[in-house]
């Protein structure tokens, strides 16, 4: 269609122009690298965006005046995201981190128009020459935390407050369950979907419902401290997510599964400064220290901590993964007979493993 042709031609011209303009800018290596961050929720003091922010601060500390950063928080996914990302690019940021999966398509659109800007998108699956994807193998740390939960539960019912049934969350649930079952084959995990990343009231109600069903260890894949706090209030245990929440739940927190982006951000910034950056998909886990288990609570005995450390080293050495065969889903269907799940299978995960009660909502 002629409209399309004109549009494409003009875009191509715009791209050519911007490359022409950008080229001299690249030559100025002594100017600080401008780095932009887009956060999907307010930073707060715990949670997904907070950990991203901690990463940013660590990068600034590591690189000093070689970088100049700025961020925009609470940017809803959708049409607005594209504008914010584009604005950051237009303001001269040469490295932009877009930290939520809903930013994937807007990031790619803007990246096409600014080929000299490097984009790093978290938790997505599409790359381009100037867009790489990063995620962390939180599920490895989840597996380890499952070992702790499995050892510490007495009712053998463990509650999980989830947000949305997307693969990343399912990886967490399933790995957690596998960890539990590796030390306690009788325990069961029950899941409640709060249908929101960020509604403490709903999280709390879900957590209470799980406790009403007999759960004595709780964990969550949502963004607030509500679940952990309820556990503290009721004298139960909890595994925190995103951040160490022990100051909100000194007695209840058994351990926290935390995210650490600082090293990765610093590494990317260094590569961009050197000019050695290349697009890739980085999925770091325990080995790269992008996911950790930390913040062991006072109730966790020494032998459990030792077991966790032992398993952690095994995972880092590649001898163990949370999803080694044999792997069955919770209807008995065999998923894997030999080997272990590869990245593609992990990204398409849409089932519960053995040990999780119930069915996935939309099936």
């Amino acid at each position: 269609m002629s409209g399309n042709f004109v549009r494409n031609a003009l875009s191509a011209a715009a791209v050519a122009l911007s490359v022409g303009v950008a080229a001299p800018a690249l030559a100025q290596a002594d100017q600080p690298l401008k780095v932009g961050f887009v956060y999907v929720s307010p930073i707060g003091e715990a949670g997904w965006s907070w950990q991203q922010e901690v990463g940013r601060r660590e990068m600034v500390e590591a690189l000093g005046d070689k970088v100049a950063t700025q961020y925009v928080e609470d940017v809803p996914e959708g049409a607005d995201a594209e504008r914010v990302i584009r604005d950051l690019a237009q303001q001269g940021n040469k490295l932009i981190f877009t930290t939520s999966f809903g930013y994937m398509n807007p990031t790619l659109k803007v990246a096409k128009q600014f080929p000299d800007v490097t984009f790093v998108h978290s938790t997505g699956y599409k790359t381009a020459d100037n867009v790489s994807v990063t995620n962390a193998r939180f599920y490895e740390a989840r597996y380890l935390s499952g070992i702790v939960a499995g050892k510490m539960t007495q009712s053998n019912i463990i509650g999980y407050v989830g947000a949305f049934p997307i693969p990343e969350v399912l990886q967490g649930i399933n790995a957690f369950t596998r960890g539990i079952r590796s030390v306690n084959p009788d325990a069961e995990v029950r899941v409640i979907w709060a249908n929101s990343w960020y509604d403490p009231g709903k999280e709390r109600d879900a957590a209470l419902a799980l406790m009403g069903q007999g759960a004595d260890v709780l964990t969550h894949h949502t963004d607030s401290t509500a679940t952990v706090q309820v556990a503290e209030e009721r004298g139960k245990y909890a595994v925190a997510y995103h951040s160490d929440m022990s100051r909100f739940a000194p007695k209840a927190q058994l351990v926290a599964v935390t995210h650490h982006w600082g090293d990765y951000f610093t590494d990317v910034a260094r590569k961009v400064l050197d000019g050695t950056w290349k697009s890739n998909m980085v999925w770091g886990g325990l080995k790269e220290d992008m996911a950790r288990v930390e913040g062991f609570g006072p109730a966790v005995p020494e032998d459990v901590r030792a077991l966790v450390e032992e398993k952690k080293q095994e995972i880092i050495a590649g001898k163990l993964t949370p999803f080694d065969a044999p792997l069955k889903d919770n209807t008995g269907k065999v998923i894997l007979e030999t080997g272990s799940l590869d990245d593609d299978a992990l990204n398409r995960m849409n089932y519960y493993v053995e040990g999780v009660a119930g069915k996935l909502p939309t099936r």
């Binding site: 307010p42 930073i43 707060g44 003091e45 715990a46 949670g47 907070w50 509650g159 029950r190 899941v191 409640i192 979907w193 249908n195 929101s196 960020y198 509604d199 403490p200 009231g201 709903k202 999280e203 709390r204 109600d205 879900a206 209470l208 419902a209 799980l210 406790m211 009403g212 069903q213 007999g214 607030s224 401290t225 509500a226 706090q229 503290e232 209030e233 909100f248 009660a357 119930g358 069915k359 909502p361 939309t362």
Partner: protein, 305 residues
């Protein structure tokens, strides 16, 4: 079902902020003024209460602060709508929008903070199996809301002041010609409504989920508005409705935990659909609706006209 007691307990706690806000809005609307600013007022009440408790450690002051701040907001609303004659719907909406933004802004230093509130319970009674946990282990505010409900029912039905309030809501011109200061009465009703919303917000941030995150009221202000209509502007029905609404959400979680295979979003729709159904049922008879809904709701009254 060993989860019955926690279910009832959670439903009661979930229903309490709805009931508190709803009772305030009920009085508000009985005088003929509709205040759509409940969401904003609840949030402002929540952050004020939270800030005060963080600063002083005293939960009582927290509740008072929440009530006061929301009362001030509703006072501003009253001035605009009752004296300056501004459109009630628009002004209420502006109040909500402003309250959402202002509470988020004021709450920035407290983001992610949380409190450890003391545990409460009625001595002796709370040890009764099942019923004890379900009914007698709650925060005093839960029982306070019940007392408030009874007090309001008595006020509206048995006192002269209540009768005057209802008269103002039904026919402000008649009340005016009888010599009552319609504006002052409406002001009192609006201020009361505001402080109740503030208490509801304080309950959310001090008891329900003792932490602060922006937007934590998550639409309960709007639900409280619906609840008043659902209850046909009667306090006891409001109480039933509040617990019912609170209960439905909790029930959907319990059903999920039990593995009931209905999509959670569809279950979450139930309270809203239920409200619509009730609205239809109570409104379908035009005489009945006149009997139940304050006739002058939403209309500005000018004594000088």
């Amino acid at each position: 079902m060993d989860s019955l007691a926690p279910l009832i307990a959670s439903a009661i706690v979930a229903g309490t902020p709805l009931m508190l806000a709803g009772l305030g809005l009920l009085i508000n609307e009985r005088s003929g003024v509709i205040n759509l600013g409940s969401e904003g007022m609840m949030l402002m009440g929540a952050i004020s209460a939270f800030a005060v408790v963080v600063a002083t450690g005293n939960f009582f002051f927290g509740f008072v602060a929440g009530a006061l701040v929301s009362m001030l907001m509703s006072g501003f609303f009253a001035w605009l709508t009752i004296w300056l004659g501004a459109n009630q719907v628009a002004t209420g909406l502006a109040l909500s929008l402003f309250g959402v933004g202002a509470s988020a802004y004021l709450g920035l230093p407290y983001a992610g903070e949380s409190l450890l509130p003391p545990q409460f319970g009625v001595p002796l009674l709370q040890d009764i199996p099942v019923l004890g946990q379900a009914l007698f282990s709650h925060h005093p505010m839960v029982y306070g809301s019940l007392i408030l409900c009874v007090a309001i029912a008595w006020f509206l039905g048995r006192t002269r002041a209540g009768l005057i309030l209802r008269a103002v809501g039904e026919s402000p011109t008649s009340a005016h010609s009888l010599g009552y200061n319609v504006r002052r009465i409406r002001l009192a009703a609006v201020l009361f409504g505001g402080s109740c919303c503030g208490l509801a917000g304080a309950f959310m941030s001090l008891v329900y989920t003792p932490l602060w995150v922006e937007g934590m009221v998550a639409g309960r202000g709007w639900i409280a508005l619906a609840l008043v209509a659902f209850a046909t502007w009667r306090p006891y029905r409001l109480m039933a409705g509040a617990y019912l609404f609170g209960g439905i959400t909790i029930l959907t979680y319990h059903m999920q935990a039990l593995g009931v295979p209905i999509a959670s979003q569809l279950l979450s729709m139930l309270p809203y659909i239920a409200t619509i159904v009730v609205l239809v049922l109570i409104s379908r008879n035009s005489t009945w609706i006149r009997l139940n809904m304050p006739a002058s709701l939403g209309k500005t009254f000018n004594p000088n006209s």
